[in-house]
Symmetry: C2
Subunit: 381 residues, 2 copies
C-alpha cells in the first residue's frame, strides 16, 4: 500500500463503511425480529413522558421547558439497542406484559441518554449523532439572549449537567415504581445499580488511560470497553429482561456473559468505525478518535509493531487534519492493526455465541441473539 | 460611613459574622433538640455504605477507589440540615423506626452532595467547604501521574461528573429499596422526583439570570432561591419525614409551606453571609459572590436605589480584589441593601412560623421548627 496514494486510500476507507451496511440490511430483511414489532412502544411512552415533563417544566419558565425539549431530542435518534435487548430477553423467556417491559426498556434508554450527555460534558463535545448537542443548543440560546462567550459556555454546561441528572433520575424512577412483585423489583434495582457502578468505573478508567504515557495493551482496552459499555448496554438490559420474565439463574447467568462478550465485540467494531467508518453513515468525524488519542484495539495492536513510534507521534495530536488522519489510517492498516481488531471482534462474537448454548435458553432467543452477535461485528454504524 | 476607612469597615464586617454565632450557640445550649441525638446514625450508615462501595470499587482499580473516597469526603463536614429536618418531622409526628428515617435522611443528604458536586462542575470551582473539592483532588492525582494541564482538567471534571451521578443514584436507591408499604414508598419517590425536578429548574434559572442584562428583581431572586434550594433542602426533607410517619395531608401541607418559606429565609441569609460573612467561619471567600455577579436579595434591593450604577459597574468583575470588595460592601450597606435583605429574611421567618400554627402539628414539633426558623436568619455560617 502506497502511503502517498491518498485519494485511492480514501475511497477504500469509505468502502469499509458501506459494505457491511448491505450485509446487515440483508440479514435484517431475512426475518423481522419480534423486538422490532415492540419497539414503537418505547417511542410512544417516551413521547408521553416528555410531553408531561415539558408541561410541568413550563411552570418554571421557557428555558426549563426548552431544556426538556433538548433532552427529548437527545434521547431520540438512537438505535434503541438497549430496549431491543430488554424485549428480546423478556419475550424470549416467556414474558408477555408489554407495559412493564417498556418501562424497563425506557429505564435503560434514559440511562444511556444520561451517560451520553455527561460524556459530552467531560469531553466538551458539541455534536452528538451529527447534530448540535444540548450544550451547543443552550450556548446558542444564551447567544440569542446577548450573553458573552463565557456565559454561553456556562449556559451550555449547566443545561447538559442538569439534563443528564434528570435523565438519570428518571431511569431510577422507572424501575423504582415498576408494578411488579417486590423481589423482582429489588433484583432489577440491583441490576440498575450495577449498570451505574461499573460504567462509572469504566468511564474513569478510559479517561485515566487516555492520558497515560504507557502504550495501550489489548487486555486493558478490552476491560475498559467491558466496564464502560458492555455491562450497562448489553449485560444489564438482557439480565433485566430475563429477571422481569422470571427466568432462572442459569439463563440469567448465560445472558450476562453473552452480553458482556457481545458488548465488547460491538464496541471494538465501534472503535474501528470511529477511525475507518464513513462519517456520512456513522454520524461522527473519522478523525476525532485519532485526534483525542483514544486507546482502542487498533492502537493496542499497533503498539506491538514497529509502526508504533510513527503512529504514537501523531496519535492525540489535536491539530491532526484529514490528510494526517489518512496517513494514520494507512499505517494502522499496513501494520495489521485493522485486521487484528476485526479478528478480535470476531473472536468475541464466537465466544458470545458459545454462551447461547446454555440449556436454559429457548431456541428462538438463541437464534435471535446469535443473529445480533453476528451483526455486532458486521455493522457500519 | 466613610468609604475610605477600609480597615475599620473590615473589622465591622467581621463582627457581622461573629455576633450571630454567639446567639446561635446560646439558642442551641438551651435545649438539645431530639434530632441532634439521632444524627449520629446518618454518619454511621454513610460510613458503612462508603466502606462497602470502596471495597467494590477496589476491584476496578485504585483510581475508582479514590473516587469513592473523595465522594465520602465531599459528603462529610456539612451541617446535616436535611437529615435533621427528616428526623424532626418524622419523630415530631410520631415516627419511631430509626432505621427507615436514617435511610430517608441519607437519601436527601446524598442528593445534596450530588447537587453540590455538579454545581462545582458548572462553576468550575475547585474549593468546597474550605478544602479542595473532587475535581481539584483528581486534577492533583493526574498531575502526580505526570499528566499535562488539559489532562488534569479532564480527570478532575470526569471524577466530579461521575461522583455526582453516583451520589444521585444512591439517593434514588435509598428510597426505592426502603422497607415500607408500597403507597408510602410511592409518595416518597414522588417527593424525591419533585426535589430533583424543581431544583434543576432553579439551578437553570440562576445561571440564566446571572448572565442577564436586566437588573435583578426581588421577586425573581426569591423565586429562584425557592426553586434552587428551599424545595429540595427544606420542603422535601420535611414532607418526606412526615409521609414516612404516616402524617395527614394537613400536616404535610403545612410543613411543605413552612419548608419553602424557611428555606428562602435561610438562603437569603446565606447570600448575606456570602458577602458580609467572615470567611474563617463561612469557609468561603467573601468576594467570590461579588466577583461572580450573583443576583441576591442584596443586589435586588441595591438595584432600586441611586447606588446601583456604581455597584452594577463592579458586580461580576472577575478581577475584583479585596479592597474593591470592601468598597462594594460599604456601598451595599450605605444604600440600605444589607438592612433590606435582613428584613426580608426576617419576614420569611415570620411567615414560616405562621405556618406552624396549623392544627395538625404537635406542640413539640412546632417549638422545634419555630426555633429552627429563628436560627435560619441569625446564623453565621
Amino acid at each position: 500500500m502506497d502511503p502517498a496514494a491518498r485519494p485511492r486510500a480514501r475511497r477504500r476507507v469509505r468502502a469499509v463503511g458501506v459494505q457491511p451496511v448491505a450485509r446487515a440490511a440483508g440479514a435484517r430483511a431475512g426475518a423481522v425480529p419480534v423486538t422490532d414489532l415492540l419497539s414503537p412502544s418505547v417511542d410512544e411512552e417516551l413521547r408521553a413522558f416528555f410531553a408531561d415533563a415539558r408541561t410541568r417544566a413550563g411552570e418554571y419558565g421557557q428555558h426549563y421547558a426548552a431544556l426538556w425539549e433538548s433532552l427529548e431530542q437527545q434521547s431520540s435518534g438512537g438505535k434503541r439497542i438497549r430496549p431491543k435487548l430488554v424485549y428480546a430477553a423478556y419475550q424470549g423467556l416467556g414474558g408477555d406484559d408489554r407495559h412493564v417491559a417498556t418501562r424497563v426498556a425506557i429505564a435503560f434508554e434514559l440511562l444511556h441518554t444520561a451517560f451520553l450527555i455527561h460524556d459530552d460534558v467531560i469531553d466538551r463535545d458539541t455534536v452528538r449523532r451529527g447534530a448540535p448537542n444540548i450544550a451547543a443548543r443552550f450556548a446558542g440560546r444564551a447567544r440569542a439572549h446577548g450573553a458573552d462567550d463565557r456565559a454561553c459556555e456556562v449556559w451550555g454546561e449547566t443545561a447538559a449537567v442538569l439534563a443528564g441528572d434528570l435523565a438519570l433520575s428518571r431511569a431510577h424512577r422507572e424501575i423504582a415504581t415498576l408494578p411488579v412483585d417486590p423481589d423482582r423489583r429489588a433484583a432489577l434495582l440491583d441490576i440498575l445499580d450495577r449498570a451505574v457502578f461499573v460504567s462509572a468505573a469504566g468511564e474513569l478508567a478510559d479517561v485515566v488511560h487516555a492520558g497515560s504515557h504507557h502504550p495501550p495493551e489489548v487486555a486493558r482496552v478490552v476491560a475498559t470497553l467491558e466496564q464502560k459499555t458492555a455491562v450497562y448496554s448489553f449485560e444489564c438490559p438482557l439480565t433485566a429482561g430475563a429477571v422481569l420474565a422470571g427466568a432462572g439463574d442459569g439463563a440469567i447467568g448465560a445472558l450476562a456473559r453473552y452480553g458482556r462478550l457481545v458488548g465488547v465485540a460491538f464496541q471494538i467494531t465501534d472503535d474501528i468505525l470511529g477511525v475507518f467508518g464513513d462519517p456520512a453513515i456513522t454520524g461522527k468525524s473519522a478523525a476525532s478518535d485519532l485526534r483525542e488519542g483514544k486507546q482502542t484495539a487498533l492502537t493496542a495492536h499497533a503498539a506491538t509493531t514497529d509502526a508504533w513510534p510513527a503512529i504514537a507521534s501523531r496519535l492525540g495530536d489535536p491539530d491532526l487534519d484529514d490528510e494526517g488522519a489518512d496517513v494514520m489510517r494507512q499505517a494502522l492498516r499496513a501494520c495489521g492493526a485493522l485486521e487484528a481488531a476485526r479478528r478480535l471482534a470476531d473472536e468475541y462474537v464466537t465466544l458470545a455465541r458459545y454462551e447461547l448454548d446454555a440449556e436454559d435458553l429457548p431456541a428462538a432467543l438463541r437464534a435471535e441473539l446469535g443473529d445480533l452477535a453476528q451483526r455486532a461485528a458486521e455493522r457500519a454504524r
